[in-house]
Symmetry: C2
Subunit: 306 residues, 2 copies
Protein backbone atom coordinates (compact mmCIF):
# COMPACT_ATOMS: atom_id res chain seq x y z
CA UNK A 1 0.00 0.00 0.00
CA UNK A 2 2.46 2.61 -1.19
CA UNK A 3 3.85 4.06 -4.37
CA UNK A 4 7.43 4.11 -5.63
CA UNK A 5 7.93 6.69 -8.39
CA UNK A 6 11.04 6.92 -10.56
CA UNK A 7 11.63 9.88 -12.86
CA UNK A 8 12.85 13.44 -13.15
CA UNK A 9 13.17 16.37 -10.79
CA UNK A 10 13.85 19.56 -12.68
CA UNK A 11 13.81 23.30 -12.98
CA UNK A 12 11.47 24.68 -15.64
CA UNK A 13 11.42 28.10 -17.27
CA UNK A 14 7.97 28.50 -18.72
CA UNK A 15 6.26 31.18 -20.78
CA UNK A 16 2.58 31.08 -21.62
CA UNK A 17 0.08 33.74 -22.72
CA UNK A 18 -0.42 34.35 -18.97
CA UNK A 19 3.16 35.27 -18.11
CA UNK A 20 6.54 33.74 -17.39
CA UNK A 21 8.25 31.88 -14.58
CA UNK A 22 12.00 31.32 -14.31
CA UNK A 23 13.48 28.12 -12.89
CA UNK A 24 10.45 26.91 -11.00
CA UNK A 25 10.34 23.40 -9.60
CA UNK A 26 9.20 20.86 -12.20
CA UNK A 27 9.88 17.38 -13.52
CA UNK A 28 7.61 14.35 -13.68
CA UNK A 29 8.18 13.28 -10.06
CA UNK A 30 7.33 16.74 -8.76
CA UNK A 31 4.00 16.91 -10.56
CA UNK A 32 3.21 13.27 -9.83
CA UNK A 33 3.85 13.72 -6.08
CA UNK A 34 2.06 17.08 -5.93
CA UNK A 35 -1.14 15.38 -7.12
CA UNK A 36 -0.69 12.06 -5.31
CA UNK A 37 -0.01 13.62 -1.90
CA UNK A 38 -3.70 14.09 -0.98
CA UNK A 39 -4.19 10.30 -0.82
CA UNK A 40 -0.81 8.55 -0.90
CA UNK A 41 2.54 10.31 -0.62
CA UNK A 42 4.97 8.48 -2.90
CA UNK A 43 8.55 7.39 -2.27
CA UNK A 44 10.80 8.95 -4.89
CA UNK A 45 13.80 7.73 -6.85
CA UNK A 46 15.51 10.53 -8.75
CA UNK A 47 18.58 12.69 -9.09
CA UNK A 48 19.25 16.41 -8.58
CA UNK A 49 22.25 18.71 -8.82
CA UNK A 50 23.90 21.10 -6.40
CA UNK A 51 21.44 23.87 -7.37
CA UNK A 52 18.60 22.20 -5.46
CA UNK A 53 17.92 24.47 -2.47
CA UNK A 54 16.11 24.00 0.83
CA UNK A 55 12.96 25.51 -0.74
CA UNK A 56 12.75 22.65 -3.23
CA UNK A 57 13.58 19.98 -0.66
CA UNK A 58 10.98 21.36 1.71
CA UNK A 59 8.31 21.29 -0.98
CA UNK A 60 9.14 17.69 -1.90
CA UNK A 61 9.25 16.57 1.75
CA UNK A 62 5.67 17.80 2.08
CA UNK A 63 4.46 15.77 -0.88
CA UNK A 64 6.34 12.49 -0.40
CA UNK A 65 6.85 9.82 2.21
CA UNK A 66 10.52 9.30 1.44
CA UNK A 67 13.30 10.99 -0.51
CA UNK A 68 15.93 8.37 0.43
CA UNK A 69 16.13 7.33 -3.22
CA UNK A 70 16.93 10.84 -4.46
CA UNK A 71 20.63 11.28 -5.15
CA UNK A 72 22.38 14.67 -5.13
CA UNK A 73 25.24 15.04 -7.61
CA UNK A 74 27.53 17.66 -6.12
CA UNK A 75 29.33 18.51 -9.34
CA UNK A 76 26.26 18.75 -11.51
CA UNK A 77 23.25 20.93 -12.02
CA UNK A 78 19.67 19.65 -12.03
CA UNK A 79 17.71 18.83 -15.19
CA UNK A 80 16.56 22.09 -16.79
CA UNK A 81 13.77 22.63 -19.33
CA UNK A 82 12.80 25.86 -21.00
CA UNK A 83 9.75 26.20 -23.21
CA UNK A 84 6.71 28.19 -24.12
CA UNK A 85 3.08 27.78 -25.03
CA UNK A 86 1.28 29.77 -27.68
CA UNK A 87 -2.45 30.41 -27.50
CA UNK A 88 -2.88 26.76 -28.40
CA UNK A 89 -1.94 25.36 -25.00
CA UNK A 90 -1.91 21.79 -26.26
CA UNK A 91 1.60 22.13 -27.69
CA UNK A 92 4.71 23.04 -25.72
CA UNK A 93 7.57 24.46 -27.76
CA UNK A 94 10.92 23.47 -26.28
CA UNK A 95 13.61 26.16 -26.29
CA UNK A 96 16.22 24.35 -24.19
CA UNK A 97 16.72 20.97 -22.57
CA UNK A 98 19.77 20.52 -20.32
CA UNK A 99 19.84 17.00 -18.94
CA UNK A 100 22.74 17.75 -16.56
CA UNK A 101 22.63 15.29 -13.60
CA UNK A 102 19.74 13.42 -15.24
CA UNK A 103 22.05 12.24 -18.04
CA UNK A 104 23.95 10.15 -15.49
CA UNK A 105 20.84 8.92 -13.68
CA UNK A 106 21.32 5.32 -12.47
CA UNK A 107 18.33 4.79 -10.22
CA UNK A 108 18.78 2.60 -7.18
CA UNK A 109 15.51 1.75 -5.46
CA UNK A 110 16.13 1.59 -1.68
CA UNK A 111 15.22 -1.75 -0.10
CA UNK A 112 13.08 0.16 2.42
CA UNK A 113 10.76 1.23 -0.42
CA UNK A 114 9.85 -2.33 -1.33
CA UNK A 115 6.88 -2.81 0.96
CA UNK A 116 4.04 -5.26 0.40
CA UNK A 117 1.71 -4.53 -2.50
CA UNK A 118 3.47 -1.42 -3.71
CA UNK A 119 2.80 0.30 -7.03
CA UNK A 120 5.77 1.16 -9.21
CA UNK A 121 5.43 4.26 -11.38
CA UNK A 122 8.05 4.63 -14.09
CA UNK A 123 7.84 8.20 -15.36
CA UNK A 124 9.09 9.05 -18.81
CA UNK A 125 12.80 8.09 -18.93
CA UNK A 126 15.08 6.03 -21.16
CA UNK A 127 13.48 2.58 -21.50
CA UNK A 128 16.89 1.02 -20.74
CA UNK A 129 16.73 2.68 -17.33
CA UNK A 130 13.06 1.74 -16.91
CA UNK A 131 13.91 -1.90 -17.58
CA UNK A 132 16.67 -1.82 -14.99
CA UNK A 133 14.22 -0.44 -12.41
CA UNK A 134 11.61 -3.08 -13.26
CA UNK A 135 14.26 -5.74 -12.52
CA UNK A 136 15.00 -4.11 -9.17
CA UNK A 137 11.26 -4.03 -8.37
CA UNK A 138 10.11 -7.35 -9.78
CA UNK A 139 7.91 -7.96 -6.74
CA UNK A 140 5.88 -4.74 -7.17
CA UNK A 141 2.15 -5.45 -7.20
CA UNK A 142 1.41 -3.08 -10.09
CA UNK A 143 3.91 -1.63 -12.54
CA UNK A 144 3.04 1.43 -14.60
CA UNK A 145 5.03 2.95 -17.43
CA UNK A 146 4.87 6.41 -18.94
CA UNK A 147 6.88 7.26 -22.06
CA UNK A 148 7.09 9.89 -24.80
CA UNK A 149 7.49 10.26 -28.56
CA UNK A 150 11.27 10.55 -28.32
CA UNK A 151 11.59 6.94 -27.10
CA UNK A 152 8.84 5.70 -29.41
CA UNK A 153 10.86 6.98 -32.38
CA UNK A 154 14.37 6.28 -31.12
CA UNK A 155 14.15 3.13 -29.00
CA UNK A 156 11.07 1.21 -30.17
CA UNK A 157 12.59 -2.23 -29.54
CA UNK A 158 13.76 -1.41 -26.05
CA UNK A 159 10.38 0.12 -25.31
CA UNK A 160 8.71 -3.06 -26.53
CA UNK A 161 10.92 -5.01 -24.16
CA UNK A 162 9.87 -2.91 -21.14
CA UNK A 163 6.21 -3.11 -22.21
CA UNK A 164 6.49 -6.89 -21.74
CA UNK A 165 7.35 -6.39 -18.07
CA UNK A 166 4.69 -3.90 -16.89
CA UNK A 167 0.97 -4.04 -16.07
CA UNK A 168 -0.08 -0.69 -17.46
CA UNK A 169 1.03 2.06 -19.79
CA UNK A 170 -0.11 5.65 -19.57
CA UNK A 171 0.37 7.65 -22.77
CA UNK A 172 -1.21 10.52 -24.61
CA UNK A 173 -3.24 10.50 -27.82
CA UNK A 174 -0.34 11.39 -30.15
CA UNK A 175 1.86 8.75 -28.56
CA UNK A 176 -0.88 6.14 -28.99
CA UNK A 177 -1.12 6.98 -32.68
CA UNK A 178 2.66 6.76 -33.23
CA UNK A 179 3.00 3.56 -31.24
CA UNK A 180 0.14 1.77 -32.97
CA UNK A 181 0.16 3.30 -36.43
CA UNK A 182 -3.60 3.62 -36.03
CA UNK A 183 -5.65 6.81 -36.07
CA UNK A 184 -8.60 5.50 -34.11
CA UNK A 185 -7.97 5.42 -30.35
CA UNK A 186 -9.93 2.24 -29.69
CA UNK A 187 -8.16 0.42 -32.50
CA UNK A 188 -4.86 1.80 -31.15
CA UNK A 189 -5.59 0.56 -27.63
CA UNK A 190 -6.55 -2.89 -28.91
CA UNK A 191 -3.35 -3.14 -30.91
CA UNK A 192 -1.20 -1.92 -28.01
CA UNK A 193 -2.78 -4.12 -25.36
CA UNK A 194 0.06 -6.57 -24.57
CA UNK A 195 -1.06 -9.91 -23.08
CA UNK A 196 0.58 -8.92 -19.80
CA UNK A 197 -1.27 -5.60 -19.57
CA UNK A 198 -4.08 -5.03 -17.13
CA UNK A 199 -4.77 -1.49 -18.29
CA UNK A 200 -3.95 1.22 -20.83
CA UNK A 201 -4.60 4.85 -20.01
CA UNK A 202 -4.93 7.25 -22.96
CA UNK A 203 -4.73 10.90 -22.00
CA UNK A 204 -6.48 13.30 -24.39
CA UNK A 205 -5.67 16.62 -22.70
CA UNK A 206 -8.65 18.96 -22.79
CA UNK A 207 -10.63 16.18 -24.52
CA UNK A 208 -10.53 13.92 -21.48
CA UNK A 209 -9.23 10.43 -20.89
CA UNK A 210 -9.92 6.85 -21.91
CA UNK A 211 -9.06 3.83 -19.78
CA UNK A 212 -8.96 0.36 -21.29
CA UNK A 213 -9.10 -2.68 -19.01
CA UNK A 214 -8.92 -6.30 -20.12
CA UNK A 215 -12.70 -6.40 -20.40
CA UNK A 216 -13.92 -2.85 -20.35
CA UNK A 217 -13.52 0.66 -21.66
CA UNK A 218 -13.99 3.97 -19.82
CA UNK A 219 -14.26 7.35 -21.53
CA UNK A 220 -14.55 10.62 -19.63
CA UNK A 221 -14.49 14.25 -20.76
CA UNK A 222 -12.16 16.67 -19.03
CA UNK A 223 -13.47 19.13 -16.48
CA UNK A 224 -13.93 22.33 -18.55
CA UNK A 225 -11.36 25.01 -17.73
CA UNK A 226 -11.86 28.40 -19.32
CA UNK A 227 -8.56 29.91 -18.28
CA UNK A 228 -5.53 27.70 -18.78
CA UNK A 229 -2.41 29.27 -17.29
CA UNK A 230 0.20 26.52 -17.67
CA UNK A 231 -0.47 22.96 -18.80
CA UNK A 232 3.03 21.71 -17.83
CA UNK A 233 2.75 18.60 -15.70
CA UNK A 234 -1.00 18.05 -16.17
CA UNK A 235 -0.39 14.52 -17.45
CA UNK A 236 1.90 13.62 -14.55
CA UNK A 237 -0.63 15.17 -12.17
CA UNK A 238 -3.34 12.97 -13.64
CA UNK A 239 -1.11 9.93 -13.13
CA UNK A 240 -0.27 10.92 -9.55
CA UNK A 241 -3.91 11.42 -8.58
CA UNK A 242 -5.06 8.27 -10.40
CA UNK A 243 -2.52 5.90 -8.87
CA UNK A 244 -2.81 7.46 -5.41
CA UNK A 245 -6.53 6.67 -5.58
CA UNK A 246 -5.81 3.12 -6.80
CA UNK A 247 -3.28 2.68 -4.00
CA UNK A 248 -5.31 4.27 -1.20
CA UNK A 249 -8.59 2.51 -1.97
CA UNK A 250 -6.99 -0.73 -3.19
CA UNK A 251 -8.89 -0.49 -6.46
CA UNK A 252 -9.31 -3.70 -8.42
CA UNK A 253 -8.29 -2.51 -11.90
CA UNK A 254 -10.35 -5.31 -13.45
CA UNK A 255 -13.45 -3.64 -12.03
CA UNK A 256 -14.79 -0.90 -14.26
CA UNK A 257 -16.77 1.06 -11.66
CA UNK A 258 -13.91 1.20 -9.15
CA UNK A 259 -11.45 2.22 -11.85
CA UNK A 260 -13.87 4.83 -13.20
CA UNK A 261 -13.95 6.45 -9.76
CA UNK A 262 -10.16 6.72 -9.82
CA UNK A 263 -10.30 8.31 -13.30
CA UNK A 264 -12.98 10.79 -12.20
CA UNK A 265 -10.94 11.79 -9.17
CA UNK A 266 -7.78 12.19 -11.27
CA UNK A 267 -9.65 14.23 -13.90
CA UNK A 268 -10.60 16.72 -11.23
CA UNK A 269 -7.20 16.95 -9.54
CA UNK A 270 -5.50 17.37 -12.94
CA UNK A 271 -7.94 20.15 -13.85
CA UNK A 272 -6.45 22.30 -11.08
CA UNK A 273 -2.93 21.68 -12.40
CA UNK A 274 -3.41 23.86 -15.47
CA UNK A 275 -4.77 26.81 -13.48
CA UNK A 276 -1.41 27.90 -12.14
CA UNK A 277 2.27 27.87 -13.13
CA UNK A 278 4.20 24.74 -12.21
CA UNK A 279 2.93 23.15 -8.99
CA UNK A 280 0.88 26.17 -7.86
CA UNK A 281 -2.51 25.09 -9.24
CA UNK A 282 -2.63 21.91 -7.17
CA UNK A 283 -0.45 23.03 -4.26
CA UNK A 284 -2.94 25.70 -3.19
CA UNK A 285 -6.03 23.49 -3.09
CA UNK A 286 -7.40 21.20 -0.39
CA UNK A 287 -9.82 18.28 -0.17
CA UNK A 288 -12.84 20.62 -0.04
CA UNK A 289 -11.83 22.25 -3.33
CA UNK A 290 -11.56 18.81 -4.91
CA UNK A 291 -14.96 17.72 -3.56
CA UNK A 292 -16.67 20.91 -4.73
CA UNK A 293 -15.30 20.46 -8.22
CA UNK A 294 -16.23 16.76 -8.23
CA UNK A 295 -19.81 17.81 -7.58
CA UNK A 296 -19.70 20.38 -10.39
CA UNK A 297 -18.21 17.78 -12.71
CA UNK A 298 -21.11 15.46 -11.92
CA UNK A 299 -23.54 18.24 -12.86
CA UNK A 300 -21.72 19.01 -16.11
CA UNK A 301 -20.85 15.49 -17.27
CA UNK A 302 -22.45 12.95 -14.93
CA UNK A 303 -25.39 10.78 -15.89
CA UNK A 304 -26.81 7.37 -15.24
CA UNK A 305 -29.15 5.31 -17.35
CA UNK A 306 -31.14 2.88 -15.24
Amino acid sequence: MSIVAVGSLAFDSITSTEGSRERILGGSLTHFSNAAAFLSKPQLVGVVGNDFSETEWEFLRGKTSSLDGVETMENEKSFFWKGYYTKDVNNAITQATELNAFAKFKPVVPESYKQDDYTLFLANIDPVVQLDVVHQCSQAKFKVLDTMNYWISNAPEKLHEVFETVDCIIINETEAYSLSDEINLIAAAEKLFFPNFKMIILKKGSNGVMVFGKKYMISLPSFPIDHVIDPTGAGDSFAGAFFSYIDKYQVDVNDREQTKKAAIYATIVASFAVEGFGVEGIDRINEDDINRRLKLYSEISGFQIP
Copy 2:
Protein backbone atom coordinates in the same frame (compact mmCIF):
# COMPACT_ATOMS: atom_id res chain seq x y z
CA MET B 1 -44.94 19.99 -31.15
CA SER B 2 -43.31 19.47 -34.50
CA ILE B 3 -40.15 20.38 -36.37
CA VAL B 4 -39.74 22.37 -39.55
CA ALA B 5 -36.32 21.82 -41.15
CA VAL B 6 -34.92 23.89 -43.99
CA GLY B 7 -31.77 22.85 -45.85
CA SER B 8 -30.27 20.68 -48.55
CA LEU B 9 -31.24 17.41 -50.19
CA ALA B 10 -28.39 16.04 -52.23
CA PHE B 11 -26.56 13.21 -53.88
CA ASP B 12 -23.15 12.39 -52.41
CA SER B 13 -20.29 10.42 -53.90
CA ILE B 14 -18.14 9.37 -50.99
CA THR B 15 -14.87 7.49 -50.67
CA SER B 16 -13.41 6.45 -47.34
CA THR B 17 -10.86 3.84 -46.32
CA GLU B 18 -13.80 1.42 -46.18
CA GLY B 19 -14.92 1.77 -49.80
CA SER B 20 -16.87 4.04 -52.13
CA ARG B 21 -20.47 4.92 -52.83
CA GLU B 22 -21.69 6.78 -55.92
CA ARG B 23 -24.57 9.25 -55.80
CA ILE B 24 -26.15 8.10 -52.55
CA LEU B 25 -28.83 10.17 -50.88
CA GLY B 26 -27.33 12.90 -48.69
CA GLY B 27 -27.74 16.52 -47.69
CA SER B 28 -28.38 18.07 -44.29
CA LEU B 29 -32.15 17.48 -44.35
CA THR B 30 -31.72 13.81 -45.19
CA HIS B 31 -29.38 13.14 -42.28
CA PHE B 32 -31.38 15.35 -39.93
CA SER B 33 -34.65 13.53 -40.75
CA ASN B 34 -33.04 10.10 -40.68
CA ALA B 35 -32.03 10.68 -37.04
CA ALA B 36 -35.11 12.64 -35.95
CA ALA B 37 -37.63 10.13 -37.31
CA PHE B 38 -37.52 7.83 -34.24
CA LEU B 39 -39.13 10.54 -32.09
CA SER B 40 -40.46 13.33 -34.30
CA LYS B 41 -40.65 13.20 -38.09
CA PRO B 42 -39.86 16.67 -39.39
CA GLN B 43 -41.61 18.70 -42.09
CA LEU B 44 -39.08 19.61 -44.77
CA VAL B 45 -38.43 22.67 -46.87
CA GLY B 46 -35.93 22.05 -49.64
CA VAL B 47 -35.35 21.74 -53.34
CA VAL B 48 -34.38 18.84 -55.63
CA GLY B 49 -33.83 18.36 -59.35
CA ASN B 50 -35.31 16.05 -61.94
CA ASP B 51 -32.82 13.31 -60.98
CA PHE B 52 -34.65 12.58 -57.72
CA SER B 53 -36.22 9.15 -58.18
CA GLU B 54 -38.99 7.25 -56.41
CA THR B 55 -36.34 5.49 -54.26
CA GLU B 56 -35.27 8.82 -52.74
CA TRP B 57 -38.82 10.08 -52.31
CA GLU B 58 -39.83 6.83 -50.65
CA PHE B 59 -36.95 7.03 -48.21
CA LEU B 60 -37.80 10.63 -47.31
CA ARG B 61 -41.51 9.91 -46.92
CA GLY B 62 -40.60 7.32 -44.30
CA LYS B 63 -38.55 9.80 -42.28
CA THR B 64 -40.69 12.92 -42.45
CA SER B 65 -44.24 14.02 -41.73
CA SER B 66 -44.50 16.30 -44.77
CA LEU B 67 -42.62 17.00 -47.98
CA ASP B 68 -45.06 19.68 -49.12
CA GLY B 69 -42.30 22.26 -48.80
CA VAL B 70 -39.90 20.40 -51.09
CA GLU B 71 -39.84 21.89 -54.57
CA THR B 72 -38.79 19.91 -57.67
CA MET B 73 -37.02 21.94 -60.37
CA GLU B 74 -37.73 20.13 -63.60
CA ASN B 75 -34.87 21.69 -65.55
CA GLU B 76 -32.22 21.23 -62.90
CA LYS B 77 -30.27 18.50 -61.22
CA SER B 78 -30.07 18.05 -57.44
CA PHE B 79 -27.23 19.35 -55.30
CA PHE B 80 -24.22 17.05 -55.73
CA TRP B 81 -21.19 16.63 -53.50
CA LYS B 82 -18.18 14.46 -54.06
CA GLY B 83 -15.47 13.97 -51.48
CA TYR B 84 -13.21 11.56 -49.69
CA TYR B 85 -11.85 10.82 -46.26
CA THR B 86 -8.31 9.73 -45.54
CA LYS B 87 -7.46 7.61 -42.52
CA ASP B 88 -8.09 10.75 -40.46
CA VAL B 89 -11.88 10.68 -40.71
CA ASN B 90 -12.21 14.08 -39.08
CA ASN B 91 -11.53 15.89 -42.34
CA ALA B 92 -13.51 15.54 -45.55
CA ILE B 93 -11.69 16.52 -48.71
CA THR B 94 -14.09 17.99 -51.26
CA GLN B 95 -13.51 16.98 -54.87
CA ALA B 96 -16.64 18.51 -56.40
CA THR B 97 -19.59 20.63 -55.32
CA GLU B 98 -22.37 21.22 -57.84
CA LEU B 99 -25.07 23.39 -56.33
CA ASN B 100 -27.47 22.88 -59.27
CA ALA B 101 -31.07 23.42 -58.08
CA PHE B 102 -29.81 24.47 -54.65
CA ALA B 103 -28.27 27.62 -56.13
CA LYS B 104 -31.77 28.89 -56.89
CA PHE B 105 -33.28 27.75 -53.60
CA LYS B 106 -35.93 30.23 -52.40
CA PRO B 107 -37.56 28.41 -49.53
CA VAL B 108 -41.26 28.91 -48.96
CA VAL B 109 -42.48 27.46 -45.69
CA PRO B 110 -46.02 26.10 -46.20
CA GLU B 111 -48.62 27.65 -43.88
CA SER B 112 -49.67 24.12 -42.87
CA TYR B 113 -46.21 23.62 -41.27
CA LYS B 114 -46.70 26.47 -38.83
CA GLN B 115 -48.34 24.58 -35.99
CA ASP B 116 -48.28 25.62 -32.34
CA ASP B 117 -44.94 25.42 -30.56
CA TYR B 118 -42.93 24.24 -33.53
CA THR B 119 -39.15 24.14 -33.69
CA LEU B 120 -37.44 25.68 -36.72
CA PHE B 121 -34.16 24.08 -37.79
CA LEU B 122 -32.11 26.10 -40.27
CA ALA B 123 -29.49 23.79 -41.67
CA ASN B 124 -26.31 25.20 -43.16
CA ILE B 125 -27.33 27.52 -46.02
CA ASP B 126 -26.66 31.11 -47.08
CA PRO B 127 -27.48 33.35 -44.09
CA VAL B 128 -29.47 35.61 -46.42
CA VAL B 129 -31.79 32.66 -47.05
CA GLN B 130 -31.81 31.71 -43.38
CA LEU B 131 -32.90 35.25 -42.46
CA ASP B 132 -35.71 35.11 -44.97
CA VAL B 133 -36.95 31.84 -43.46
CA VAL B 134 -36.77 33.26 -39.93
CA HIS B 135 -39.03 36.10 -41.08
CA GLN B 136 -41.50 33.57 -42.52
CA CYS B 137 -41.43 31.63 -39.24
CA SER B 138 -41.32 34.42 -36.69
CA GLN B 139 -43.83 32.62 -34.49
CA ALA B 140 -41.72 29.43 -34.15
CA LYS B 141 -41.21 28.48 -30.50
CA PHE B 142 -37.54 27.65 -30.88
CA LYS B 143 -35.26 28.65 -33.75
CA VAL B 144 -32.00 26.81 -34.34
CA LEU B 145 -29.24 27.72 -36.78
CA ASP B 146 -26.43 25.63 -38.19
CA THR B 147 -23.71 27.20 -40.34
CA MET B 148 -20.24 26.47 -41.68
CA ASN B 149 -16.84 28.06 -42.19
CA TYR B 150 -17.69 29.28 -45.69
CA TRP B 151 -20.33 31.69 -44.34
CA ILE B 152 -18.24 32.61 -41.30
CA SER B 153 -15.48 33.78 -43.66
CA ASN B 154 -17.59 35.19 -46.48
CA ALA B 155 -20.70 36.61 -44.86
CA PRO B 156 -19.85 37.41 -41.23
CA GLU B 157 -22.14 40.46 -41.03
CA LYS B 158 -25.14 38.68 -42.49
CA LEU B 159 -24.48 35.75 -40.17
CA HIS B 160 -24.37 38.15 -37.22
CA GLU B 161 -27.72 39.50 -38.32
CA VAL B 162 -29.33 36.02 -38.37
CA PHE B 163 -27.74 35.18 -35.02
CA GLU B 164 -29.75 38.06 -33.54
CA THR B 165 -32.98 36.33 -34.58
CA VAL B 166 -32.48 32.74 -33.36
CA ASP B 167 -32.53 30.95 -30.00
CA CYS B 168 -29.69 28.52 -30.56
CA ILE B 169 -26.71 27.87 -32.79
CA ILE B 170 -25.18 24.46 -33.40
CA ILE B 171 -21.62 24.58 -34.73
CA ASN B 172 -18.48 22.49 -34.60
CA GLU B 173 -15.23 23.15 -32.76
CA THR B 174 -13.38 24.69 -35.71
CA GLU B 175 -16.32 26.95 -36.49
CA ALA B 176 -16.46 28.09 -32.86
CA TYR B 177 -12.79 29.02 -32.99
CA SER B 178 -13.16 30.98 -36.25
CA LEU B 179 -16.30 32.74 -35.11
CA SER B 180 -14.92 33.76 -31.72
CA ASP B 181 -11.22 34.15 -32.42
CA GLU B 182 -10.68 32.18 -29.20
CA ILE B 183 -8.91 28.85 -28.84
CA ASN B 184 -10.61 27.76 -25.62
CA LEU B 185 -14.11 26.38 -26.19
CA ILE B 186 -15.62 27.77 -23.00
CA ALA B 187 -14.23 31.22 -23.73
CA ALA B 188 -15.53 30.86 -27.29
CA ALA B 189 -19.03 29.93 -26.11
CA GLU B 190 -19.10 32.86 -23.68
CA LYS B 191 -18.07 35.27 -26.40
CA LEU B 192 -20.58 33.86 -28.90
CA PHE B 193 -23.54 33.75 -26.52
CA PHE B 194 -25.82 36.47 -27.95
CA PRO B 195 -28.30 37.99 -25.44
CA ASN B 196 -31.15 36.39 -27.39
CA PHE B 197 -29.60 32.89 -27.26
CA LYS B 198 -30.96 30.17 -25.04
CA MET B 199 -28.33 27.62 -26.02
CA ILE B 200 -25.12 26.99 -27.96
CA ILE B 201 -24.21 23.47 -29.05
CA LEU B 202 -20.55 22.79 -29.82
CA LYS B 203 -19.94 19.55 -31.66
CA LYS B 204 -16.48 18.04 -31.18
CA GLY B 205 -16.78 14.98 -33.42
CA SER B 206 -15.12 11.96 -31.84
CA ASN B 207 -14.34 14.12 -28.80
CA GLY B 208 -17.98 14.56 -27.89
CA VAL B 209 -20.20 17.56 -27.46
CA MET B 210 -20.63 20.59 -25.20
CA VAL B 211 -23.93 22.35 -24.62
CA PHE B 212 -24.06 25.81 -23.11
CA GLY B 213 -27.30 27.12 -21.62
CA LYS B 214 -27.85 30.55 -20.13
CA LYS B 215 -26.88 29.23 -16.71
CA TYR B 216 -25.21 25.89 -17.25
CA MET B 217 -22.69 23.88 -19.18
CA ILE B 218 -22.86 20.23 -20.29
CA SER B 219 -19.89 18.23 -21.57
CA LEU B 220 -20.19 14.66 -22.82
CA PRO B 221 -17.71 12.34 -24.52
CA SER B 222 -18.71 10.59 -27.72
CA PHE B 223 -19.70 6.93 -27.70
CA PRO B 224 -16.47 5.17 -28.72
CA ILE B 225 -16.61 3.74 -32.24
CA ASP B 226 -13.69 1.58 -33.32
CA HIS B 227 -14.64 1.27 -36.95
CA VAL B 228 -15.73 4.50 -38.64
CA ILE B 229 -17.03 3.85 -42.15
CA ASP B 230 -18.34 7.26 -43.22
CA PRO B 231 -18.68 10.31 -40.97
CA THR B 232 -20.74 12.28 -43.53
CA GLY B 233 -23.87 13.64 -41.89
CA ALA B 234 -22.92 12.76 -38.30
CA GLY B 235 -23.36 16.39 -37.21
CA ASP B 236 -26.77 16.71 -38.88
CA SER B 237 -27.75 13.36 -37.36
CA PHE B 238 -26.79 14.66 -33.93
CA ALA B 239 -28.94 17.74 -34.53
CA GLY B 240 -31.89 15.66 -35.76
CA ALA B 241 -31.81 13.33 -32.77
CA PHE B 242 -31.25 16.18 -30.29
CA PHE B 243 -34.12 18.39 -31.48
CA SER B 244 -36.49 15.45 -31.97
CA TYR B 245 -35.92 14.64 -28.29
CA ILE B 246 -36.45 18.29 -27.31
CA ASP B 247 -39.62 18.38 -29.39
CA LYS B 248 -41.06 15.03 -28.35
CA TYR B 249 -40.42 15.44 -24.61
CA GLN B 250 -41.02 19.19 -24.56
CA VAL B 251 -37.61 19.72 -22.94
CA ASP B 252 -37.10 22.98 -21.08
CA VAL B 253 -33.73 24.05 -22.49
CA ASN B 254 -33.09 26.13 -19.38
CA ASP B 255 -33.03 22.89 -17.39
CA ARG B 256 -29.65 21.20 -17.42
CA GLU B 257 -30.75 17.67 -16.56
CA GLN B 258 -33.50 17.57 -19.20
CA THR B 259 -31.19 19.01 -21.83
CA LYS B 260 -28.43 16.57 -20.85
CA LYS B 261 -30.79 13.68 -21.55
CA ALA B 262 -31.39 15.05 -25.05
CA ALA B 263 -27.61 15.33 -25.61
CA ILE B 264 -27.03 11.77 -24.36
CA TYR B 265 -29.73 10.43 -26.66
CA ALA B 266 -28.34 12.37 -29.64
CA THR B 267 -24.78 11.21 -28.88
CA ILE B 268 -25.95 7.61 -29.19
CA VAL B 269 -28.03 8.06 -32.35
CA ALA B 270 -25.16 9.97 -34.02
CA SER B 271 -22.72 7.20 -33.09
CA PHE B 272 -24.61 4.85 -35.42
CA ALA B 273 -24.39 7.39 -38.26
CA VAL B 274 -20.66 6.87 -38.79
CA GLU B 275 -20.94 3.08 -38.95
CA GLY B 276 -22.36 2.99 -42.46
CA PHE B 277 -22.22 4.95 -45.70
CA GLY B 278 -24.73 7.79 -46.01
CA VAL B 279 -27.99 7.08 -44.17
CA GLU B 280 -27.32 3.31 -43.75
CA GLY B 281 -25.88 3.40 -40.22
CA ILE B 282 -29.01 4.93 -38.70
CA ASP B 283 -31.57 3.60 -41.17
CA ARG B 284 -30.93 -0.02 -40.19
CA ILE B 285 -31.31 0.42 -36.42
CA ASN B 286 -34.38 0.43 -34.19
CA GLU B 287 -35.29 1.65 -30.71
CA ASP B 288 -33.83 -1.49 -29.09
CA ASP B 289 -30.45 -0.86 -30.70
CA ILE B 290 -30.51 2.69 -29.35
CA ASN B 291 -31.48 1.54 -25.86
CA ARG B 292 -28.80 -1.14 -25.78
CA ARG B 293 -26.15 1.37 -26.75
CA LEU B 294 -27.47 3.91 -24.24
CA LYS B 295 -26.90 1.32 -21.54
CA LEU B 296 -23.37 0.62 -22.79
CA TYR B 297 -22.67 4.36 -22.90
CA SER B 298 -23.74 4.62 -19.29
CA GLU B 299 -21.27 1.87 -18.37
CA ILE B 300 -18.44 3.50 -20.31
CA SER B 301 -19.02 7.16 -19.46
CA GLY B 302 -21.80 7.44 -16.90
CA PHE B 303 -21.26 8.38 -13.28
CA GLN B 304 -22.96 10.19 -10.48
CA ILE B 305 -21.46 11.84 -7.44
CA PRO B 306 -23.93 12.00 -4.59
